[in-house]
Symmetry: C2
Subunit: 384 residues, 2 copies
């Protein structure tokens, strides 16, 4: 996908002293007012970036985002709250918008105050006025342990949608991924944008699980400045969904230590909720994740994971079908040749586990990744 | 703890061809009728061993157990059900008890039928009559990927309680651990035994989580043959609890690939259920588990894990206290010296994470282990 940018967004990136090398700060704002929508982590330990942004995005008039990377500013008490307000106010001044129009995001270590002197000095040196936004640079600036920047663009009539995201661990979003932002010059009324965004997030970021851990900082927002004029709402939703799904797949395959993207397609469920629950049980099972990593066509572990839905009394082992790729391994087991073929399939970059519960018409697909020694090593070493 | 056996239990162990070396079969039965109690996995994919045993233990007159190791006999269809019945019937004949008086347990690979010819031949060669039970040998025979046999004994007046257990992975028991059996010559009425056993299991095996995966085969049972006469119920419960806790701690520190036992003590909760939920959130977090493995005093990850209890709106970050061992790291953060001391503490075999929610008087302690490259390696290689 070629990288195309929506009109009317300005911004910059910088190193404010949080990362040893590379940018750790990004700001992107629209030149003109926007319609916006946003969703956030439901964590009880959400930090001031989330509480501040959640409060002010209710007006659906946010014009952009500012992100500090490598420090989550979580569990930092009253000082942390003051620092978040100050950073947002200063950046808003530079960008020529009201502080309430900025979504602030922060990601990284928990429990350590921002290095404010270094941040103030860095902000004072930003270029004025802000140049045209460089979305790939912004995507790179918001990375923490990501191994590659994640950005995507799609056209929708005359309009463009550009999305950036970061997130590799501590990811089982309940409302959003760690940090993801969408910018568009499409004109979409705020109420419609909010409804579309929530539907898209539910089918994409809320279908993603790397390691069952939910971040304290998850934030997702979309900013629509309307410079390209009105668009067909259905086409816009489709394009936004395509962008979000692409980012989700990028995130899953860049999961900490991950070598394989796992897609679990559940069909035949009583309803969507049950399909999602079943998919999450499978994609979150460490035994399923290690089996994929070991290229072991261990359908028994998928059955075990489904068995954990102990309150779903309509799940009957006799009605369930389990396939890896195109090979149905249960019921009936699999012969040696089939197992060998499936083991080969598991060696690929992407694995589809298909589960049919045999109950009704509910469907849901979830995304995750394998569990590797690399995940353990990275998280045993990534330090406070 | 010296190994002392309760009176009146006979049994034997053997290799029936499931393991390449070592015993894979164990039977232990009381010479006389027993009071009994049992709890089982709630998995929707429970196998015939569990369904058969669950049905027949309702009478509270089980006299002992038979275990086949290295094959779970799960997802094996009608043939699997027939095989379980046949094994139990043959062993009951050898032991001189009714089939309904035997709890049958099975653990290992899912989806493969028992090798019945080999099993029949092995059973035909067992010594008759069965000799006095050798509990350590039975504990060894029921092992799969366990690195050591787990057994324990305690006195209660004139009576003895002996427990055996196995289980290292696929363990977040909901009703029991993978397999655990307690034998006693104490005289305890069946109704009282059942109540005591359920209370003990709730505080021990149901407080254990290795990897969030719930087995299809979890079974826990206690057999009391009364040969030592009546005991004080409170003292009996205390002794049974001590035995069960010891086995739980053995299981946690022998968790697949584990190097550290993690004990999460939650206090100050609204009630016991909330305390348990909070403890499980912490002990199951892969980021907490890898932090302990990496000797990283990362209290921020504990806060993150608590934050996942998004529906517990009475959890306020400002009221929570988090300690590793005796060091309170939150609130207030920790200075370099304290972090260094805590890192040293995390290098030990056992780590206590203490969480005070600051709400009420509810308490619960859960047990787990760290997440290591060894877990990944073992489960990537352990094959269907």
């Amino acid at each position: 996908m070629q990288f195309t940018a929506p009109r009317g967004f300005r911004g910059t990136t910088a190193n404010l002293g949080l990362k040893e090398t590379g940018d750790d700060f990004a700001v992107v704002v629209s030149e003109v007012p926007c319609a916006s929508a946003a969703v956030f982590t439901r964590s009880r330990f959400a930090g001031p970036s989330v509480t501040l942004s959640r409060r002010d995005t209710g007006a659906h008039r946010s014009r952009g985002m500012v992100v500090i990377s490598r420090n989550a500013n979580v569990a930092t008490g009253a000082e942390g709250a003051r620092n978040a307000e100050e950073v947002r106010r200063r950046v808003a001044g530079i960008a020529g918008v009201a502080p309430e129009e900025l979504v602030i995001g922060s990601t990284g270590v928990i429990g350590r105050p921002y290095p404010m002197e270094s941040i103030r000095a860095g902000l004072a040196a930003l270029p004025l006025p802000l140049p045209e936004a460089d979305f790939p640079a912004a995507a790179a600036a918001i990375m923490t342990t990501d191994t590659r920047a994640k950005h995507v663009s799609a056209r929708c009539g005359d309009a463009v949608i550009t999305g950036i995201a970061k997130g590799v661990g501590m990811i089982e979003p309940n409302m959003a991924t760690l940090l993801t932002f969408f910018f568009t010059d499409a004109e979409v009324p705020a109420g419609e944008l909010d409804a579309i965004f929530r539907r898209v997030v539910e089918r994409t970021f809320n279908a993603l699980s790397i390691d069952t851990d939910t971040s304290t900082s998850d934030t997702a927002a979309v900013f629509a400045n309307g410079l390209a004029g009105p668009v067909d709402p259905a086409a816009f939703e489709e394009a936004l969904y395509a962008c979000a799904l692409r980012l989700v797949r990028d995130i899953a395959s860049d999961g900490e230590g991950a070598s394989t993207l796992i897609e679990v397609r559940v069909t035949g469920a009583r309803d969507t909720a049950q399909a999602k629950r079943a998919g999450k049980a499978v994609v979150n099972s460490p035994l399923v994740k290690t089996a994929v990593h070991g290229r072991d066509p261990n359908w028994g572990r998928v059955a075990m994971a489904l068995g954990k839905l102990e309150d779903d009394e309509d799940i009957e082992p006799g009605a369930v079908r389990i396939a890896f790729g195109d090979d149905v391994l249960y019921p009936g087991g699999a012969d040696e040749e089939q197992l060998k073929r499936t083991a080969g399939y598991l060696a690929g970059d992407e694995v589809v586990i298909a589960v049919d519960l045999g109950i009704g018409g509910g469907e849901f697909t979830v995304y995750g990744c394998d569990l590797t020694e690399g995940y353990v090593r990275l998280n045993a070493d990534y330090t406070t």
